[in-house]
């Protein structure tokens, strides 16, 4: 499923709510639901802060058997993806099972920044 919103912090809660609802109905553990929600929030906040003025944020959710795949993108002014040494990146890696970010060439010479997240239904807890 796809959600398109203006790249503004005011709309973040919509994406967050969709993420939480999908994870809940996919029977994720409460930890995983909360983690996904925060990870989506973090990735979208990063996209919004780097978006071109009046940009659009496109979010896609794919619910798979035991995981949710989330990707989001928006047009950005920079060819540089966010740093992998930042606190934000640390947060994303801690909250998800896989995360990636990169910049691709967009239409009309623009750049598109993209985030890809994967969250599994349950944490692999040591000792289980």
């Amino acid at each position: 499923m796809e959600v398109r919103i203006a790249a503004s912090p005011a709309h973040l809660s919509v994406v967050r709510a969709v993420a939480a609802d999908l994870a809940m109905r996919a029977d994720f553990t409460l930890d995983a639901i909360s983690d996904l929600k925060m990870a989506v929030d973090e990735a979208c906040s990063e996209l919004i802060s780097r978006s071109v003025p009046d940009g659009e944020l496109v979010c896609r959710f794919a619910v798979e058997s035991d995981q949710i795949h989330f990707s989001a993108e928006s047009r950005t002014g920079s060819t540089q993806p966010p740093s992998r040494e930042s606190f934000g990146w640390r947060v994303l890696t801690a909250l998800t099972d896989a995360v990636n970010t990169w910049v691709v060439p967009g239409p009309d010479g623009a750049h598109v920044l993209r985030f890809d997240l994967l969250k599994k239904r349950a944490d692999d807890v040591v000792g289980l």
């Binding site: 553990t29 409460l30 930890d31 995983a32 906040s45 930042s86 606190f87 944490d123 000792g127």
Partner: protein, 259 residues
């Protein structure tokens, strides 16, 4: 407040030797219980006074007195007269911290129907129980089976928990509470932080956080503990950890952006 605590200090001056005696009595000595009981009884008006100050906020008065008394008892147990400070200046923030935590743990920021409140309570209780049993957080369907209700009801209850917690009161009292002591849960310096490039900006922001929030952030993002493990470690519910974590992340992000 200043006036009343001045008066209060002199009212309770006769108890100072009792506090010293309690501190000097070794743990296990039956005399301790006696001294402790006397102190709790005599200082009870302080707890009642603080409970009254927090009245009018929709919590039953009796509950508040009880929570304040718990704060008083822990103040009596932890007070160290050799530090040279006055008992009340130690006890008042401790008791207020306890009451504040009670509000934070049990308040709703918007009106929620009673049925949903009860559902939320049932889910919180079942989450704790199942986490113990499973060694991880439960899923909505596990909660539904455990509680003998439908999955839709669990969804409803989980959604209602978003409306939980009154933030205004937290904001009001931030800075007055020195009672939260989780320092032993984690060292002062976290070597993991060294790898983070914006640590110069991050460190002061982390230092400014209340100790509990800071501990949760460090355990989750640098200690790689799950929310359930953190909840277990610091003695609050998973949902509470989840809320604190989400809120603190937003604050940190704002702080980092404004650098």
């Amino acid at each position: 407040m200043t006036q009343s605590s001045e008066r209060a200090s002199s009212d309770y001056a006769h108890l100072d030797p009792v506090l010293v005696e309690l501190a000097e009595t070794p743990v296990g000595d039956p005399r301790r219980t006696e001294l402790r009981d006397r102190l709790v009884t005599e200082f009870l008006p302080v707890a009642q006074h603080i409970a009254r100050r927090f009245g009018q906020r929709g919590e039953p008065h009796d509950d508040l007195v009880q929570v304040a008394t718990v704060g008083l008892i822990s103040a009596i147990d932890r007070f160290d007269p050799t530090r040279g400070s006055d008992f009340l200046s130690f006890a008042v923030p401790t008791i207020m911290g306890e009451v504040r935590r009670h509000f934070r743990d049990t308040s709703w920021s918007v009106r929620v129907p009673r049925r949903l409140k009860e559902l939320h309570l049932a889910i919180t209780g079942a989450t704790n129980e199942l986490s113990q049993h499973l060694g991880r957080a439960p899923t909505p369907s596990e909660l539904a089976t455990h509680l003998g209700i439908s999955k839709d009801e669990v969804y409803e209850g989980l959604e209602a928990s978003n409306a939980y917690r009154s933030s205004s009161l937290d904001e009001l009292l931030v800075g007055t509470d020195k009672s939260v002591s989780l320092g032993d849960a984690l060292g002062d310096d976290d070597p993991e932080l060294m790898g983070v490039e914006n640590r110069e900006a991050l460190q002061p922001l982390l230092q400014q956080l209340p100790e509990r929030e800071r501990t949760i952030i460090l355990l989750r993002f640098f200690g790689n503990l799950t929310q359930t493990q953190i909840a277990d470690r610091i003695g609050i519910s998973q949902m509470h950890v989840s809320r604190l974590l989400a809120r603190t992340l937003v604050d940190l992000r704002k702080g980092l952006l404004s650098e």
